[in-house]
Symmetry: C2
Subunit: 112 residues, 2 copies
DNA sequence: CCGACTTATCGATAGTTGTCAATCTATCGA
DNA sequence: TCGATAGATTGACAACTATCGATAAGTCGG
């Protein structure tokens, strides 16, 4: 059984409306919670921050600043990518990661 | 051992600067992750949404819409309150919950 | 093709968490 | 004081997760 990736819908999702506007549906809550859960780990918060600050960065340049092993870095990038917060592009030996600004905007919208 | 409340600093916290501006410190990441983790459960997302939409609501009026037992509701309100996202005020037999708008604004700021 | 390198996956483990039943504490009405 | 009600706490259990070592898969340089 694979590592339960929980990839969520991008763009066409059910959520975006502010939480306070009206009680959110179960489906929207599920999607929002998945994305928030992806940010619910300090290593991933810093990872996302590193990616955002760099604009583009490869996995190999994340190990040292985050102080985690290579498999653990892979685990976290996978989690953030599954939540749609970052995307990776394979470029030769490297996987270059970038943030998905619309995804962050979606979260801000939900918190508005 | 108590249920590891993980109450985070309110107001005087280390975070608020946008994630993308610069790699976030470990302390700031820890605080942000704690708050995001509190939102990383669909029941809590809907709970927060109910509180926000109602402006003020007691625990007893959360059980039915959320479809969870009373102890579970208490567990979730505790988690959200520990993250500073809601505050409860004991009023006679009831505990009335309200959202903490500044806390949501802090998260939006981090995602900006 | 071979060795070095980058990333992904697997397996194991320790720690965390969501859930409920049972129980306790506190408040209100009569 | 007594019974009813609201909420918190405890204990237990299943599910999930963060972490690493080992290994596999793919890519580049020579």
């Amino acid at each position: 059984m694979p590592t339960r990736t929980r990839v969520v819908e991008l763009g066409g999702g059910v959520c975006c409306a502010p939480l306070r506007a009206a009680p959110v549906s179960e489906a929207a809550a599920e999607e929002l919670a998945t994305v928030f859960a992806a940010l619910g780990d300090p290593v991933r918060v810093r990872l996302l921050s590193l990616v955002a600050a760099a604009g583009e960065i490869c996995s190999c340049d994340l190990e040292e600043p985050l102080g985690r092993s290579q498999p653990t870095i892979s685990h976290h990038t996978r989690a953030l990518a599954g939540a749609g917060l970052i995307v990776g592009e394979r470029r030769g030996r490297w996987t270059m990661w970038k943030v998905v600004p619309e995804r962050l905007a979606m979260l801000r919208g939900a918190l508005a």
